[in-house]
Symmetry: C2
Subunit: 404 residues, 2 copies
Amino acid sequence: MTDSSPTHSLPDGFRAAGFACGLKTDPAKLDLSLFVSDVPCVAAGVFTQNRVVGAPVQVSRERVPSGSVRGVIINSGNSNACTGQQGLDDAKWMTAETAKGIGCDETDVLVCSTGVIGHFLPREKLAKGFGPIVEKLAGTPASLADAAKGMMTTDTLHKLASRSIEIDGQTVTVTGAAKGAAMIAPNMATMLAVLMTDAALSPERATNVLREAVNASFNCISVDGHTSTSDTVLLLANGQASGERQSPDTSKPSPALVTAITEVCADLAQQIIRDAEGAEHFVTIDVRGCTTRKEAAVIAKSVAESALVKTAITGNDPNWGRIVSAAGYAGIEFAESECSLTINGISLYEAGTPIDYDETAVSQAMSTGEVHIDLHFNRGDASVRYWTTDLTAEYVRLNSEYTT
Amino acid sequence: MTDSSPTHSLPDGFRAAGFACGLKTDPAKLDLSLFVSDVPCVAAGVFTQNRVVGAPVQVSRERVPSGSVRGVIINSGNSNACTGQQGLDDAKWMTAETAKGIGCDETDVLVCSTGVIGHFLPREKLAKGFGPIVEKLAGTPASLADAAKGMMTTDTLHKLASRSIEIDGQTVTVTGAAKGAAMIAPNMATMLAVLMTDAALSPERATNVLREAVNASFNCISVDGHTSTSDTVLLLANGQASGERQSPDTSKPSPALVTAITEVCADLAQQIIRDAEGAEHFVTIDVRGCTTRKEAAVIAKSVAESALVKTAITGNDPNWGRIVSAAGYAGIEFAESECSLTINGISLYEAGTPIDYDETAVSQAMSTGEVHIDLHFNRGDASVRYWTTDLTAEYVRLNSEYTT
């Protein structure tokens, strides 16, 4: 699934940039990102479901869906969450300063912040960035990479993905940038993503497509089950694929476009899991044969978030008992005899009974760092695919010493 | 709350013993426990809510509530869960062999097993224990301690608690033994407890009292959120406090007795948390001012099980943001302005806004190893007290290398 191209291009009519305002411990690190559409574009958003919500989320979610957005401004190094009225003023100030630079109304700029919560934004440092970042805006892969880097907190790698498809003889591109390395849970914990496409979508269609894509990607990953206060996924669609602006298309979007947007989201979601703090194993969990997708997702989440399952994986231990019992306490009333389990293709547990298997073979397969847990129930046809990590001593070290 | 007496006595008319059958890596360690009432007694039970249930749970829960139980046989070192029909046969065999020794019907013996799941019980080793353990039965503190030791798995300490109270001029004793050190979650993950009292209770009253006590104790602790397949809390009441057997009392039990049983359960629950694998901090979480106790419990569980809250505590970091956001994703629709937080008595967050506090003072208070998180909501009068631990690199090491 991971895009193999080393560089990623922006869709037509988009520019991006990153800048260093000095918010991070290393003041040379990029901490401000800007994504701009040359023309007013359609924008949709999906936001954290936490009851405690950062100021930028409050500002941005009032501004989407929209047909006239011009840009997204993001700072890292300081989350602007739990900051009361001043936080709201600061978030709006960021959009106003950006709007001055790119020439639009401040309500046509969306805003995100990420980093440690509970501290007011350092306006004097940020103020130095809005002029230069507009000067640096460009449609190049290097500018896009800078914008992705400006969103990073504990990420070790910046995260980009793109797909180009043909629709009615026209090339359409979907490109996304994301950040996130810990505190990742379904419903998008401490993660930000900006998706851009030069396809033409109506605000309503863009919202529906984005929700569908997020449900099959960012809502299917979990590092530690912690939903943050600032999670945001934005989709900008400017209809510039033809070189001139298309009217927003209110008809059902092409399946190829929906697939491309979903694939870009899933690619970014997997990059987040692969970059998870302290992770040594990338774990794919398939839960199949359930009565509903929701039922499958509840079981997958329970397995993905079990500290005992995660630590067993850390030790390359095919501990089917921890997996099956984590499924068992998910709250779904299945019978033991309905449940079977394979790890990396080797069957360990069938129809409620453990079976003989080659423990060394499974353990060796797990030691590659790629673990595939397949839980099959004999209840129906619904399934879900989930991604998570192991739980390592390094995760504990990083999160008990985290300061910036 | 912890009982300060170094030894604990059995209530009148109870005997106990422990024996080593050689089930553990160190064959000299006790792995078989027996608790016996000299006369048929009332028994009640509360069992795991996991959908995947060990064979001993299936056998025991069919035998309670009862008015004629004589004993409880427990082995550690092998859980007899996920073992199909043979597991059921083995569990019943354990009760039959015990019944022969103490002279009763096998259905008047209850059974528990704990240890690694998915392996059949080694009958040949266990068979050597049933005769000798009956020979060793005694009413002494030493025998009681042996029985508590025979239940241990990864526990570093055996766990006993007792209370004696006066009811109508008569001394009544409640004594409990428990095991559990990891995989502890509300709804009783991998924990066993046997409570004995010489009070007279009817089966129905005993069941109600036990449920109430478990809800305020074993269901309020969480190490890693993992509910096991074998959790069992049993209450035996033999009415022997007067020296001769009292008829089971069907009237409402005395408040003093309910309090004593609840205190013994809470004492044992806290001992389990203090012995949690790799734990360096003992954490008490009070959630107050909620509309219902259930609402408070949902928030407390979310905070207690957050890996980010736990790792912050490991580092003595008063990271109120992680605590408040863990409350925020619990699924309770509170407003930020309804929420306030203190840690070890120092206010960090009031009515939705972080406030200035002395970070060094809080951190120093946390470094004592005793952390008190008090989350107050402005919604109602319901509250809950919860106990948990931090999450350490040692926990990860123990659970990624665990084999026996």
